[in-house]
Symmetry: C2
Subunit: 158 residues, 2 copies
DNA sequence: GTAGAGTTACTCGGATACCCCATGTCCGAGTTATTAGGG
DNA sequence: CCCTAATAACTCGGACATGGGGTATCCGAGTAACTCTAC
């Protein structure tokens, strides 16, 4: 899995602490000492997926495109890592003896079915968790984090 | 995910159709027109993991190291693809402001927790399915496959 | 003081290099079947 | 005919190339804030 997924999720959570204001990739990157241009690339992907909105120029930056409880963790993962399953069925049965050339082995191969079923439970788990859930968990377990983060972004001078 | 996982699972199922006999990587590869040496590499990994046993020389080859109902799909996936989770938490929180240098953020970061929880359901699903289950499914849905496969391996002359 | 036009600085966005790992290949160590020869 | 030893062939095992995608970077298009001037 792409490493940018981790960055994207953390950035989305941080954006929740700075509502109604565009935050630049530069500042989001400085928060974790990440390479600015590369994080920008990930944020672009989130923008293309409709999760963030971007504005150019001074006072520009990124912000959430919709309410955090309408953004699932799966949305972010899919935006960064792509929609393909981890297990790619290449239908090797088609190269085997007695194969049906016009059959779709991605659907009828029991191995493909089993792997796909497991991935569906995985995706269902991620789809059931929203950015808002993550924020709530942070606020419950670490009450100071929200204010600390807000202050850090407010006081950042460079 | 490594493509060899697909090959390994299919090969394990095929080995179930040829009990009590060592099958060479060459023949297993010929069944699906796979590159022999590369499939051999995957079978080596299964051997290191204790899933297969290998014998050298003429009449050598691979066979299952234990009963198919004692080999889970997860065992095979782990043997080929490694034990690491797909989502690797790099603990970027450690580089953030107000971080605890001696904390293990892989355990306390809510994002890491969520991703890990989802992967656990994924692994649990794969752990609950055995090679024997796959074989049984094949035999139920495609009754001719078992005999056809046996005959193909028996009649292979090269 | 105010409006407006020009300038400046800043940000995103995509095009461009770099590098590591999955993919693919090859040759040697070891083992067993085979065979030839002698008893 | 039978036993033994040398031979040969076959297989796994790991070491060695190669290519594609993730990683990282840079520069240009566009935009909004700022400033200066004229009224």
């Amino acid at each position: 899995m792409n490493e940018g997924v981790e960055w994207a999720l953390h950035s989305c959570v941080n954006l929740c602490f700075i509502p109604g204001e565009a935050v630049t990739a530069k500042r989001l990157a400085a928060f974790y000492n990440l390479p600015t241009a590369y994080l920008n690339k990930q944020l672009q992907a989130l923008t293309r997926a409709g999760i963030l909105t971007s504005t150019s120029g001074p006072k520009g930056g990124f912000q959430l495109a919709r309410r955090p409880d309408k953004i699932s963790v799966l949305d972010v993962v899919t935006a960064i890592d792509g929609p393909e399953d981890a297990f790619r069925c290449t239908q090797i049965l088609k190269s085997g003896p007695g194969a049906d050339p016009k059959a779709d082995y991605r659907k009828i191969c029991v191995i493909s079915q089993s792997m796909r079923k497991a991935e569906l439970t995985y995706r269902r788990e991620l789809a059931g968790k929203t950015i808002a859930d993550l924020v709530r968990q942070v606020e419950t377990s670490y009450p100071a984090t929200a204010d600390d983060t807000r202050n850090w972004f407010a006081n950042l001078k460079s």
